[in-house]
């Protein structure tokens, strides 16, 4: 393969004004974003940010309280969408009494059209697990391996993973990541991976969705989001932000003695003054946004929903013409 896996014109997930209320509290509110197909997307946010709610909505296990969410152009959990989506929840539900061989057979019989027995068996085998072992006797990490084998064996177009690697040892994590990336390379699978472990995401994910307090804070290509920000370090003794920052969007400033560190979104023009400038790392970008909940959201053009919603952020492409929402893959 010499072509990129992503298909910018095709949409895997699209949320417009999406909201979900659990009893009194909103787990998600006014969420709008788009995930193009073929991306490997990191879903990041603090505990309780709404990541799990978003994934279970996409899997069709819950209905949104307000707004809309489309999955591969259809209704989440709908008859023509469900066979093309695999969802791995945090608790990795498997039948404890089944053996591993039974579990894979279940995968084969539930997904007769798409099932890839060889891939599923290889993933189980790589972990040194015997097909006759009972799922109930496996460790947490071993169960995760079987659950991922089941999800990848289904050969889905969209793979939704909730904290998939949390309980895996380093070798298993490497093997599972390799299996995911191989699926991306071979079949351009769209992957959405919720995780707290930033090191697990760097180099793997090419798309980012940062949610906090039930809202989308950042969405888009990782490299474009990084390039839209500049990390400044310099000498600043007066109180308050330096005047030359006023022309730009300031995400966060921090002070250590006379040194000021700031993450900004430069507004086209270069920043004046004696500042040491660099592009932030993914970790610096995420931590700054998590520490600064009031920073305005930023969506790159490809992450803007096409179904006529309000646009936010400096990248926003306004008044995109055409009723794209009615076609199965957007425009």
């Amino acid at each position: 393969m010499t072509d990129f896996t992503f298909r910018p014109g095709r949409t895997a997930l699209e949320a417009v004004g999406l909201g979900m209320r659990h009893r009194r509290a909103w787990a998600l509110r006014d969420c709008s974003f788009r995930l193009p197909a073929g991306r490997v997307c990191a879903l990041v946010g603090p505990n309780g940010a709404g990541k799990t709610t978003l994934l279970s909505l996409a899997a069709g296990l819950r209905r949104p309280t307000e707004g809309s969410l489309t999955v591969l152009g259809g209704r989440p959990g709908g008859a023509e969408v469900r066979p093309r989506v695999a969802y791995l929840s945090q608790d990795k539900p498997l039948y404890a009494r089944f053996t591993i061989a039974d579990t894979l057979r279940m995968g084969r019989e539930l997904n007769p059209a798409s099932w890839d027995q060889a891939t599923a068996e290889r993933l189980v085998d790589d972990g040194g697990l015997s097909p006759g072992a009972r799922v109930g006797d496996l460790s947490g990490g071993q169960r995760t391996r079987v659950a991922l084998a089941l999800a990848l064996g289904k050969r889905p177009e969209l793979l939704l993973l909730d904290e998939p690697m949390a309980d895996l040892d380093p070798l298993s994590r490497h093997q599972m990541t390799t299996a995911l990336m191989t699926a991306a390379a071979e079949r351009a699978v769209t992957v959405v991976m919720a995780s707290h472990i930033l090191a697990e995401l760097d180099g793997i994910c090419d798309y980012l969705l940062l949610v906090a307090d039930g809202k989308v804070r950042l969405a888009g290509e990782v490299e474009d989001l990084l390039a839209a920000h500049t990390l400044l370090v310099g000498w600043h003794e007066q109180s308050g932000a330096p005047r030359e920052f006023a022309a730009h969007t300031v995400v966060e400033t921090r002070r250590t003695g006379r040194q000021l560190t700031a993450l900004i979104r430069p507004d086209g023009r270069p920043v004046r003054g004696e500042w040491q400038m660099s592009e932030p790392t993914l970790e610096e970008l995420l931590l700054a946004h998590l520490r600064a909940p009031d920073a305005p959201p930023l969506l790159t053009p490809s992450a803007e929903p096409r179904a006529g919603s309000k646009a936010v952020g400096a990248f926003a492409v306004r008044n995109r013409p055409g009723p794209a929402a009615s076609s199965p893959y957007g425009a």
Binding site: M1, T2, D3, F4, T182, A185, G203
Partner: protein, 129 residues
């Protein structure tokens, strides 16, 4: 065939690490015109990185005219970066070795020599390599 080594903590973008490693292999003659680069799938299987990162690196190398994609076959080296003037038996290298010997005799430590070389290098060739 080259094997890439990805350092996730280096701070250098992953695709650039691949570009640099291919260029280095071309300079050292580990890769020669006609050699095939590993496919994105092969790199992914060895390093567990995103396949698009590999493809982005290969596009960059293609744009620089160093490699070319042959549809259905893979990505192949077009030209080498190895220069005879920079080879192990070249006069330039011998002169540099002589100079290092004199710097050592003058009492300079490795760090002093490195700092001196870097400063002259930057003076002569502006911008990062």
């Amino acid at each position: 065939m080259v094997e890439f080594r990805i350092d996730r903590r280096s701070g250098v973008a992953t695709y650039l690490q691949i570009v640099h490693q291919v260029e280095q292999a071309l300079r050292l003659g580990l890769l020669a015109p006609g050699d095939k680069l590993p496919t994105a799938k092969e790199v992914v299987a060895a390093t567990a990185i995103n396949p698009n990162t590999v493809l982005k690196a290969y596009r960059e190398l293609t744009r620089d005219g160093l490699v070319e994609a042959r549809p259905g076959l893979g990505t192949f080296v077009r030209r080498s970066l190895a220069r005879p003037q920079a080879g192990a038996d070249s006069p330039l290298r011998a002169e540099l070795a002589d100079w290092m010997e004199r710097a050592h005799a003058a009492g300079l430590a490795r760090e002093d020599v490195s700092a001196l070389v870097t400063s002259v290098l930057e003076e002569r060739f502006e911008g990062p390599a």
